[in-house]
């Protein structure tokens, strides 16, 4: 087949768009591995030194971020799965309004939500100073990202009939929830959890307002290093962040693909 000029024109356009989005990421990765960015890669050569330096200085932010992400996922599952179930079951004007309300912290600037939290709970010193304060912010912010996919799966699975079947076999309400509702929503729960972990790891707005010097997360540390340290250090920090987040994104994509094909007939 003979390709026309139009085809090559479109190809060029696509490649340009890709380059526009990817080159900054690659530049950042490269900067993190370059001995001296101002002399250039060729003149100064590559090194892992910056990565080690970042790890030495900021390892605790990485651990805090991971701990926050895991705790956030656990918290969101414990609140979000029963909430999604209740919303699916009710399915009336009130439940739809509540669903909209839940998305509010996502639509609102993170700074505003954080300010609201500070105004309400700021005076409880011990709580204010602990990482749990940031956790509350993350849970509020990420909740809809779990509730939405879980609701979508629940609505598709004919849960009311499955629950009636379980009840006819002797299962009480709690048994039905754990043996029928949860297992048959697991694809949605998994997708939601990965989304929540990803969002929690990268969250900056809220966290920046809520953190203390003792509770710095990875993105907050990243901002610090951009502001105060060498460009190579900040870039090496980005490399570490990408190492954490990219596998999660790939897993998320795989699960979404699985969901889109439809679980089971």
């Amino acid at each position: 087949m003979k390709r026309t000029a139009g085809f090559y024109g479109r190809l060029l356009f696509v490649l340009l768009v890709c380059a526009f989005m990817l080159v900054p990421v690659l530049m950042s990765l490269l900067a993190g591995l370059t001995r001296n960015y101002f002399q250039g890669v060729v003149a100064s050569g590559l090194t892992l030194g910056w990565l080690l330096q970042v790890w030495a200085a900021y390892a605790d932010t990485v651990w805090l971020s991971l701990r926050l992400a895991v705790a956030c996922a656990v918290g969101v599952v414990m609140i979000g799965v029963p909430a999604a179930y209740a919303l699916v079951r009710m399915n009336n004007r009130f439940s739809r309004a509540f669903e909209e309300l839940m998305v509010l912290p996502v639509a609102m600037p993170g700074l505003a939500s954080a300010l609201a939290l500070l105004l309400t709970y700021g005076q409880y010193g011990a709580f204010r100073g602990s990482w749990l304060f940031i956790l509350v912010g993350h849970v509020i912010f990420t909740l809809p990202f779990l509730v939405r996919p879980v609701m979508a799966v629940m609505q598709r699975q004919h849960l009311p009939v499955l629950e009636e079947a379980a009840a006819s076999l002797g299962a009480g309400p709690l048994q039905r929830f754990f043996t029928v509702v949860v297992p048959n929503s697991r694809a949605g729960i998994l997708a939601g959890v990965l989304m929540v972990v990803t969002l929690s790891l990268g969250e900056f707005n809220l966290t920046w307002m809520l953190h203390t010097p003792m509770t710095k997360t990875l993105p907050v540390g990243l901002a610090d290093s951009y502001a105060s340290a060498r460009l190579e250090v900040a870039s090496a920090y980005t490399v570490i962040f990408l190492l954490l987040i990219v596998p999660l994104l790939i897993a998320l994509q795989a699960i979404n693909h699985h969901l889109a094909r439809g679980d089971r007939p």
Partner: protein
């Protein structure tokens, strides 16, 4: 598993939107009996089943299993087995997991559970399918798994909601006879809902025909067909020819298309007869009309004859193709096959 009697006493059910689903239903189901609840959609048959199951609760009235009043018990404490219309198998469990679910909920030890599960797989002929995923099964296999799952915990009564409706015609026929054998073998009290009169006739010891939330008639399949309580039952169970009576005539009554031999003293508005009781006469018949259409149906053929009434007359006979469309046919009906239906629940017998 021996049968438990089921009694509904004055059960009434109104839905939230104000629709009355059931008007004070009384029903007594014998131990070990298979009862079919038959009717068009919206007649209250599913509501009746769900009342027995405990998935709905009556506004007033009582539900009794044997001597026990179960009206207030939720379904999980009624000890019923239920087969749902689309089977509602748990997609997260395999076949054996589905069958063992009720046993596990009751806390049966694993070894016993496995043995009981194998017993039921054998009962429904799926010995080698225990580890299969539900979505790998055909419609007929799902139906059997649903049945095995419902029977596994040895329920007091078995309830089936349109158990064969989701299957294609041929499979439905086969599973119907399998289900029939199984129910007779187990001797369990079974109630099933259907809109298919053939299914109700084949499986039910007795049939409850329902109309607009009321019991229209409760009788054996034969009685229902031969002595329908009213025109609704007669029309729903089998086909029916309707003759509006125009006037008395010297040898009976005058109807569109001719005279019918009606010698009883009373004078009904309408007479009825079944399509298989109308004969094509060689000479003089009671009625005359033109052949409109004929359908070959295997063992017999159905002819549609225009006798000048509102509806063409249905005639079931084995004379396909002997007459051409538009031919004039003479039809006769033996007097004993004519009947009239007067109001709800009464039927006047016809003397020849």
């Amino acid at each position: 598993m021996t049968g438990t009697a089921i009694r509904l006493e004055g059960c009434r059910k109104t839905f939230d939107n104000g629709t009355v689903a059931l008007h004070s239903l009384d029903l007594h189901i014998h131990p070990g009996e298979t009862l079919a609840i038959l009717g068009p959609s919206g007649c209250g048959k599913t509501t009746t089943l769900r009342l027995i199951a405990g998935l709905e609760h009556p506004d007033s009235g009582r539900v009794l299993f044997g001597e026990q009043d179960v009206t207030a018990l939720p379904i999980e404490r009624r000890d019923v087995g239920m087969v749902f219309q689309n089977y509602a198998l748990f997609p997260n469990l395999d076949v054996a997991g589905n069958i063992a679910y009720g046993l596990k909920i009751r806390g049966m030890p694993k070894a016993e559970r496995t043995a009981r599960c194998a017993e039921l797989l054998a009962l429904v002929g799926l010995q080698d399918h225990g580890r299969r995923a539900v979505h790998e099964l055909s419609g007929g296999q799902r139906q059997r798994v649903a049945l095995a799952r419902a029977l596994a915990p040895r329920p007091r009564v078995l309830l089936l909601d349109e158990p064969l409706a989701a299957l294609d015609a041929q499979l439905r026929e086969r599973l119907r006879s399998e289900l029939d054998q199984l129910l007779r073998h187990l001797g369990i009290t079974a109630v099933f809902v259907t809109h298919d009169q053939g299914e109700a006739m084949a499986l039910g010891h007795r049939i409850l025909v329902m109309e607009h939330g009321r019991a229209a008639q409760l009788a054996s399949p034969q009685a229902l067909y031969q002595q329908p309580a009213n025109a609704f039952v007669a029309g729903f169970v089998g086909n029916l020819n309707v003759f509006p009576v125009l006037a008395r005539s010297p040898c009976g009554v005058k109807v569109p298309g001719g005279d019918l031999p009606w010698s009883t003293a009373d004078f009904p508005d309408t007479l009825y007869c079944r399509p298989e009781h109308v004969r094509i006469a060689d000479g003089n018949g009671h009625l005359h009309g033109h052949l409109l259409a004929q359908f070959f149906q295997g063992a017999h053929s159905r002819l549609l004859v225009d006798v000048g009434g509102a509806q063409p007359l249905l005639v079931d006979c084995d004379e396909f193709g002997r007459h051409g469309i538009g031919d004039t046919l003479a039809l006769s009906i033996a007097p004993r096959h004519l009947f009239c239906l007067q109001g709800r629940g009464t039927r006047s017998e016809v003397s020849p």
